[in-house]
Amino acid sequence: MTTAMILVPRTPIRSGDVVMLKAMISHPMETGYRRTENGEEIPRNIIRRMICRYDGVEVFSVEMHQAIAANPFMSFGVVATKTGPVEFEWVGDNGFRHRQSAQLTVTG
């Protein structure tokens, strides 16, 4: 089962503040370069892309390759404008897709 964690700052956020969002998702990020004990290649299975939408608008995305560590962690900035959802979507090999969102609460 896939689990993801989205962290938004706990401190009060005012409109115009730049906040760092953090997201982590459980995934092996199998490189495709490893072999089993019997010498068989373990096929590649990675997340290719993560997209973040804030209040319905795409504000950040990242293309990933095999060199991103297992359980990909990403942190990036966003200008807080108003209270609304930050929606994350991860897309990867073998039809992998996971969506999760958190609320960004802006006071003042």
């Binding site: 730049v18 995305s61 060199a67 560590a69 900035g77």
Partner: protein
């Protein structure tokens, strides 16, 4: 001079040292082709569309010595405003000796507020890591850092 740790004679020690050195040399030669394959410079040129990135603006924060190459924290900041008129549109990370030189490409916008990204990456061996930023005016900026890795990622069990 005393040899407090050796019950063997000097000749025995030298012979062992020689065999050991020989074995290490063979290992080094065997590993060499895999380590030299992909070209980081070519991957960077593909990202920049052929342009040579300038030095400056980019700060690549990564430990100079890591024990475990499986999850190495990496942080990139670009000293540039993020306004609709002028901003950092992309940040890309490359490695010199991983099986694939591309690590990640981050897409930013003025809504990002600051050009600052953090992730965790794999390093197959001791090598250079480069961060390249693309600005909205089409210019490219780069910083490269060498990281010494004592336990490699990618190929081990």
């Amino acid at each position: 001079m005393s040899r407090p740790f050796s019950p063997h004679s000097g000749i025995e020690l030298d012979r062992r040292a020689l065999i050991g050195a020989g074995a290490m040399l063979v290992t080094a030669l065997a590993v060499e082709p895999a380590a030299a394959s992909p070209d980081m410079a070519a991957a960077i040129r593909k990202f920049t569309g052929g342009a040579e990135p300038k030095t400056g603006k980019v700060t690549l924060d990564i430990a100079p010595l890591v024990e475990n190459g499986n999850a190495v924290g990496v942080e990139v900041k670009v000293d540039h405003p993020m306004t609709p008129e002028s901003f950092v549109s992309e940040i890309a990370i490359f490695t010199e000796k991983n099986p694939v030189p591309d690590v990640a490409v981050f897409h930013l916008s003025p809504q990002s507020g600051r050009a600052h990204v953090v992730t965790r990456m794999r390093l197959a061996t001791t090598q250079n890591v480069a961060a390249v930023a693309r600005l909205s005016d089409g210019s490219h900026w780069q910083e490269t850092r060498e990281v010494i890795v004592t336990i490699a990622a990618c190929t081990e069990d």
